[in-house]
C-alpha cells in the first residue's frame, strides 16, 4: 500500500515538475548564449545549425523562422534600460548608436510577435527612412498617442516587444563587448 502510494506520488510530482519546467522555459524564452547589450538581447546561434534545444523547441512552438546567421542578427528588448517592462500606455524614447550594418530595421510587436494595428500603418522604421538630425543621430518616440518626428505607435497595448534587426553585419557569435556593438538607449519618459 505504501509502495503504491509512494510511486503514485512520485510520478505525479515528476510529471508536474517536468512539464512545469518545460512550459516555463518555453514561454519565458529561456535560451542559452544570449548576447546582451543594454536592454537588448540577441541569440545569434539560433540562426544557425548550432541552435540549442531550448531555442529549437521555442521556435517550433511559436512557429517563427529565426533570422539566419548569414542574413543578420535580431536583438529583442522587453524592458527599458532601467529593467522596467515595456508598457504600451507609457512613452519611451529610443536613440543613440547602432552597430555597423548595411541596413537595420526596428519593429514593435505584441509579446506573441504580432503587429499592432494603427491608423498610420506604422510598425517600425528602417535605417533609410528614419528622420535624423544634422549629426546623423535619431530619436524614436514609442508612445500611444501621436508625436512629432519618428513616432512608433504602441496602440496602448499593455506589453510590447521591440526587435532591432541588423542586416549584413559583423555583429554575431564573436561579439563580446558593448564597444563593438553599441545599441540604442531606451529611456522611459512617463505614462
Amino acid at each position: 500500500m505504501r509502495l503504491l502510494f509512494g510511486s503514485c506520488f512520485t510520478l505525479l510530482i515528476a510529471a508536474a515538475l517536468g512539464l512545469g519546467a518545460t512550459w516555463f522555459t518555453l514561454t519565458r524564452g529561456v535560451a542559452f548564449g544570449a548576447l546582451t547589450i543594454g536592454a537588448w538581447k540577441a541569440w545569434p546561434k539560433s540562426g544557425s545549425a548550432d541552435i540549442d534545444p531550448y531555442a529549437r523547441a521555442m521556435v517550433a512552438r511559436t512557429g517563427e523562422l529565426p533570422t539566419g546567421m548569414g542574413d543578420g542578427v535580431a536583438f529583442y528588448a522587453r524592458t527599458d534600460d532601467a529593467g522596467k517592462a515595456f508598457d504600451g500606455r507609457c512613452t519611451f524614447s529610443i536613440g543613440g548608436m547602432t552597430p555597423t550594418a548595411r541596413y537595420w530595421t526596428v519593429t514593435l510587436y505584441t509579446p506573441e510577435g504580432r503587429l499592432v494595428a494603427n491608423t498610420i500603418d506604422r510598425h517600425g522604421f528602417t535605417s533609410e527612412e528614419i528622420v535624423r538630425d544634422n549629426d546623423g543621430r535619431f530619436t524614436i518616440t514609442v508612445a500611444p498617442l501621436a508625436r512629432p518626428g519618428n513616432w512608433l505607435p504602441t496602440g496602448g497595448i499593455e506589453q510590447f516587444v521591440l526587435v532591432w534587426r541588423l542586416y549584413d553585419t559583423a555583429i554575431g557569435v564573436a561579439t563580446r563587448t558593448t564597444k563593438e556593438g553599441p545599441m540604442p538607449a531606451i529611456e522611459r519618459k512617463g505614462c
Binding site: G6, F9, T10, L11, I13, A14, A16, L17, G18, L19, A21, T22, T25, L26, S46, G47, S48, A49, I51, P53, Y54, R56, A57, V59, A60, R61, T62, G63, E64, L65, P66, T67, G68, M69, G70, D71, G72, R102, Y103, T105, T107, Y109, E112, G113, R114, L115, V116, A117, N118, D121, H123, G124, T126, S127, E128, E129, V163, R165, Y167, D168
Partner: protein
C-alpha cells in the same frame, strides 16, 4: 523519513527526464511550426510570394514588415533543386531552413557577389553523386547540402521605405526554384 526523501529525490530525477524529453520532442510534436503553417499556403518545389506582413494577417510571428518574402517549400526526394533569384536594388537574402525550422544556411546578395543569386540545394547523398570534374568546372556553382529532405527556402527583399515595396516584390516575382532533371 529517509524513505520520504528517497521518493522526493526519485520524483525530481524523473521530473528532469520528463522536462528534457519534452523539450527535445517539441520540434517533432509542434503542429503550428513554420513549415506546417506554410504547407497550407504553398505548393512543393515552387517559389511563391507571401502576402505582405500586415497587422492581423501575419502568417508567422515576428516577421519583419519591411521585407517582401517568398517561400519555396522543398522536397529533394525527386532530385537536387536549383534556386535562382535576381537581386533587388536594396538588400536580398536567402535563408534555408530544415523541416524543423533550423536555419542551416543563409546568404545575402553581397556575399553571393552577383546580380543573380544561384544556388544548388541537395542532400548529402546527392552531393556525393555529383561527378568531381563537374564540380571543378562549375566553380562558381554554389552547392548547399540540406540536412533534411524537406524544408523551406525563404527569400527576403528589403523595401527601405514603404513606397519601395512594389520594387521588392517585383524582384522576388522573378525568382524560381525547381527540381533539376538528373
Amino acid at each position: 523519513m529517509v524513505r520520504g526523501l528517497l521518493w522526493i529525490l526519485a520524483a525530481v530525477l524523473l521530473g528532469g527526464i520528463v522536462h528534457l524529453s519534452t523539450v527535445l520532442a517539441m520540434p517533432q510534436a509542434a503542429k503550428q511550426d513554420a513549415y506546417s503553417r506554410l504547407a497550407q499556403l504553398t505548393p512543393v518545389n515552387a517559389m511563391v510570394p507571401l502576402a505582405a506582413t500586415k497587422a492581423g494577417a501575419e502568417i508567422m510571428p515576428f516577421m519583419d514588415p519591411a521585407f517582401a518574402a517568398a517561400v519555396c517549400r522543398y522536397d529533394l526526394s525527386g532530385g537536387p533543386l536549383k534556386l535562382t533569384a535576381p537581386v533587388s536594388q536594396a538588400y536580398t537574402s536567402v535563408t534555408f531552413y530544415t523541416r524543423r525550422s533550423v536555419a542551416f544556411y543563409a546568404i545575402n546578395d553581397r556575399a553571393a557577389g552577383r546580380r543573380m543569386i544561384e544556388l544548388d540545394l541537395m542532400t548529402a547523398a546527392q552531393h556525393a553523386q555529383v561527378p568531381e570534374d563537374e564540380e571543378v568546372t562549375a566553380a562558381d556553382r554554389l552547392i548547399i547540402e540540406s540536412p533534411t529532405t524537406m524544408g523551406l527556402i525563404v527569400l527576403r527583399a528589403l523595401a527601405p521605405e514603404p513606397g519601395l515595396m512594389p520594387m521588392a516584390r517585383q524582384a522576388l516575382a522573378a525568382a524560381t526554384c525547381r527540381i533539376q532533371s538528373q
